[in-house]
């Protein structure tokens, strides 16, 4: 491995670590109402984003760099920063191929704004004094889904493999840790979800729990799953050997593991707080504005994808155009609806991420 690429890997690891740290610090600052912690988180995120700018010249990394930079710039939002950690990993390790795509960069920016919109929706939900167990349970379920999606669901059979060329390298230790991650995140999601369902009063406070034991166990299971996700990420990263270029699928798996760890870590502070600080009205208004912005950027991405398709392939109706159009329509639905805004925004974010990763 050359000195340059070793330094690049170190920078990527530092950036991903920086985003993860920033997301945890910002989650604690947001929950405890400590602006100083949020300022520190913003600073860490900006430094991590600056580190990633060294990859800005690589066409295949550009959408992920755009995502990470836009996620870090406006404000320290735990969800957006956790996703930026995964984007940093993919940006640094994705094979250097392809052409510069303005459409994908715009999709990255739209997805980052979508993550901010969803994060502000969740902040508004918590600031209203609603039960924190629901979003934490959703974070556990999302992490569970991400682990199941790795390597065609091999974690369900306690296995994991890395494809290198035409050979497949089995990594049983990663499979074992992934299986444990799956169980821990599933256990945490189910315990917290069941406890939230059992709370009698509808607008329960964050500390209200039908069973403090279930809530405590659920919280610890999420923390355990977060730690295991990071261990699994290290095992997967090491599997092909230090310095060996990772295939695209493994790079995406690593990004997913970092995102899972970030989501799980961020899900814990609201469960520990007596009452979450914040201005629900302000968060709601910000989320509405951001949702509208997501639609505008997503439509610009569709336009760019259509132009790129026509210039490069001869047709504007490429799969990328169609995926971005579908994501823009979901984002439009999320910006329109008065009911179920958070799930709709989560769906819009998922659509944009799928368009970026396909």
């Amino acid at each position: 491995m050359s000195g340059g690429s070793a330094a690049l890997r170190m920078a990527v690891v530092a950036a991903a670590g920086g985003f993860l740290t920033a997301s945890i610090v910002s989650a604690v600052g947001l929950t405890a109402g400590r602006p100083r912690l949020r300022r520190i988180a913003h600073g860490i995120a900006l430094v991590a984003a600056a580190l990633l700018l060294v990859l800005a010249a690589q066409p295949s990394a550009q959408p992920f760099v755009a995502f990470a930079v836009v996620a870090a710039l406006p404000a320290p939002q735990p969800l957006a920063l956790a996703l930026a950690g995964g984007a940093a990993v993919v940006a640094g390790l994705v094979p250097v191929t392809g052409l510069v795509s303005g459409a994908l960069m715009l999709a990255g920016a739209a997805a980052a704004m979508g993550a901010h919109a969803l994060g502000r929706s969740l902040s508004a939900y918590l600031a209203r004094g609603r039960d924190a167990a629901w979003p934490s349970s959703a974070a556990g379920a999302t992490a569970c889904g991400l682990v199941i999606a790795l390597d065609d669901g091999r974690a369900l059979r306690w296995g994991y493999g890395v494809v290198s060329g035409t050979a497949r390298l089995d990594v049983p230790e990663a499979g074992l840790v992934l299986g444990l991650t799956l169980l821990a995140s599933l256990g945490g999601a189910l315990l917290l979800g069941a406890d939230a369902l059992a709370v009698a009063d509808a607008p329960a406070g964050p500390s209200a729990a039908a069973s403090p034991l279930a809530r405590g166990l659920g919280r610890r299971a999420l923390l355990l799953a977060a730690g295991l996700s990071l261990i699994a990420a290290v095992l997967v990263f090491r599997a092909p050997g230090w310095g060996v270029a990772l295939p695209l699928a493994t790079t995406k798996d690593l990004g997913a593991l970092v995102v899972a760890a970030g989501l799980l870590f961020c899900a814990v502070p609201p469960l520990l707080a007596e009452r979450t600080c914040g201005d629900a009205l302000d968060d709601d208004q910000a989320a509405t504005v951001l949702s509208r912005l997501v639609v505008v950027i997503a439509l610009a991405a569709v336009l760019a994808a259509a132009a790129e398709g026509w210039l490069r392939a001869g047709t504007y109706l490429t799969p990328l155009t169609q995926r971005l159009l579908a994501a823009a329509l979901v984002a439009f639905a999320a910006s329109e609806t008065a009911h179920g805004r958070a799930p709709a925004r989560a769906l819009a974010l998922a659509g944009l991420l799928v368009a970026m990763l396909s």
Partner: protein, 289 residues
């Protein structure tokens, strides 16, 4: 009308449209009725948006313009592929319909010839009648004879297939990967070519190398409304004989060739589609924040 224009109704219609148009759900390719559903939903979506105040009306106008452009290109547009060897000139291309269904040969606006293939995959196309040359690369399409030509890729080899027809004797046809040819009443398309065929640990076929050490292919064979998928491999002639197909197909040989396959498109409403998207984006941006 008022109920149709509520935020919830508009959001639900947008979600339904997203589901139907997503290439990952592939509903349009799976069900012929999906196109009708999309048309109906789009009409309702546009009507609901037009029923609102100015910025939303603009979104509706943009959505309607884009939908009309896509519909026009769906009906009047043409898509297909063409395979050319150096020096070869053609006046037709193989047209494809929805879901890659082959519709037969369609005339181009002019003769198109392949003049040269460059090492980086860029090709030089000539329009002999108009004395015009254009370069088409894997990253840059070009307009020739009224059509957009793009995504050139080398097909490298021609598969020589023998079709034994029992009492009717035998016939041979030589095809590139992706190319369609006729042998008697059979239409044969080489769906996939494996120069050095092998199976991986999941029993999935792959090619160990680009050298034709163990050539094999997957063929789509049709006769009228009946269709079969036939596997042929040079090392084991006649190994696969699908039920209902009264011919035997064998891969006799692989002829090295320098041919190139290109995609061909004609979408007359492309500018209208772009305009529609732009107007819709302006409408959303102009809405009350």
């Amino acid at each position: 009308m008022t109920r149709l224009a509520t935020s919830t109704a508009v959001a639900l219609m947008a979600l339904a449209l997203a589901l139907v148009t997503s290439p990952d759900a592939a509903l349009l390719a799976r069900h012929p009725a999906a196109a009708g559903v999309v048309a109906g939903l789009t009409a309702l979506f546009v009507v609901a948006l037009l029923d609102r105040r100015a910025p939303r009306r603009l979104v509706g106008v943009g959505a309607a313009t884009f939908a009309l452009a896509v519909a026009y290109d769906g009906v009047r547009g043409e898509h297909g592929s063409i395979t050319l060897a150096p020096g070869e000139a053609v006046r037709t291309f193989e047209e494809e319909g929805a879901g890659g269904r082959r519709l037969g040969l369609r005339p181009l606006g002019d003769a198109v010839a392949l003049e040269a293939i460059e090492p980086d995959g860029t090709i030089v196309l000539a329009q002999p009648d108009a004395q015009r040359r254009v370069r088409v690369s894997p990253w840059r399409a070009a307009t020739v004879a009224g059509y957009r030509f793009g995504r050139p890729r080398r097909v490298g080899a021609r598969l020589v297939l023998r079709v034994s027809a029992g009492a009717e004797g035998e016939g041979e046809v030589a095809l590139h990967e992706g190319e369609t040819g006729r042998a008697g009443d059979l239409e044969i398309t080489v769906a996939r070519y494996f120069p050095d065929f092998a199976l991986d640990e999941r029993q999935q076929p792959f090619s160990r190398s680009d050298a034709p050490n163990n050539p094999a292919g997957l063929l789509d064979v049709t006769r009228g409304t009946a269709s079969w998928r036939v596997f042929v491999i040079r090392a084991l002639p006649g190994i696969h004989h699908p039920e209902g197909l009264d011919r035997t197909l064998t891969l006799v040989d692989v002829e090295p060739d320098e041919a190139v396959m290109l995609t061909v498109h004609r979408e007359p409403a492309v500018l209208l589609a772009g305009l529609g998207l732009l107007v819709a984006a302006i409408g959303v941006a102009w809405s009350r924040w």
